[in-house]
Amino acid sequence: MHLPRRSAVLAVLAPLCAVAPWPARAEPRPEPGVSLFATRRVHLLDAPLASPWSFAGAAQLEGGSPSLPPRVARLGLARALDSAPGGEAKPGTPPSPSGRAAPSGPGSIDFDLLGPAPAAPPVDEGALRLRRTLLGWHQGVGLAMFGLELATTVVGQLNYDDKFGGANTNKYVQTHELLAFSTLAAFAVSGTLALLAPAPLKPNEGFDRVTLHKYSMFTATALMATEAVLGVWTQSREGYLNQKGIAVAHLAIGYATLAAVGTGIGALVF
């Protein structure tokens, strides 16, 4: 049969169209610097393979022409796209890295071999959300507190050297006090946030990273309280012979507190 030239060209192009990548819908041009994966594409190879001629046959049944006019090619594409996977994904999500076509027909996955799911243990979503919010703040305030504590310890060492090994100018006293009270306040806020966080799930059995974090922080709390008392006492012993001894204890406990806090943070971070 002699085909008109236009129909002959379309007959050649239609199979090529049927394997070409084709956007699922009008595809916005990606912004510069935006990954191509940000735009969802559907490839026809993702759909169960079907010959474009079968689409032509289907079109013929619907009154179309076997010579594959553009309408038929479009019908073929539309059918392939309708059966493309990913229809249940949330919009705007990229395809699964290893994702390929879900089988259909005799190999369909439309089955349920296990029956209704058993009742899952209830999870208090609200409590989980509140916990995450409070622990997020706990993490932020805790890291800030660690920075303040580090600065307090460094300035405290400088203050000790100035007072007992240098010119005794007292130039670090005010800075050390300011940093020390800020550290104490941040420690109290951070600890309170952690204690207020609800624990809606059964905790892990055994010793884990969080257990180490908690033990370290309880130790740091005791040391920090001692540290505060020793700091005030050291200052009150100005002019007395035992001031240096108390200051050494204050210094040593300051380093121990820093180590305990460091261990507590390191338990979660590393």
Partner: protein, 182 residues
Amino acid sequence: MTRSLFVLWLALALPAGGSYRVDAAGSRVEYTIVHKLHRVEGKSSDIEGRALVKGNGTVQAMVRVPVASFRSGDGNRDEHMLEAVEAGKYPFVVFKGVANLGPERALPAGPLEMQGEVELHGVKRPIVVPLSLALQPDGSIRGRGSFEVSLDAHGVERPSLLFVKIEDHCHIDFELTLREER
């Protein structure tokens, strides 16, 4: 020799209409997620699964695991993961797949490609899982495989530590013991 091979073939061929259940005690599913500072593995043996072998060699399989059953060795992190996958709304991760053993229904020597979908966080994504199957001396079948899922593709808001999010890909490893149902 031919007879021995035939006996071996009979031993490796699965019965038509055979139904297999996952033996949770001898099975595990494990996920691995990666953070800049950590590589985290969470395991679960609380697995429900079943496979059906049809007369034409088609195998249908379904596996269901409660997300709350995964343990990573850090209770706080497990709670964080449950919040990320909204365990209250979507309590299970489900895999469904089909494969074809051919009309002989013989266990393949190499990996068997199972096509299906994985449902996580209420979002289903198509996936192909290479599955290694081996007949055990006790008559059970050992199935092993691994695949990756994209947390973003499943709409999971990735958890973060020190304000840095975990990587998008989540590697799943599984080892299942299947016993024939009588």
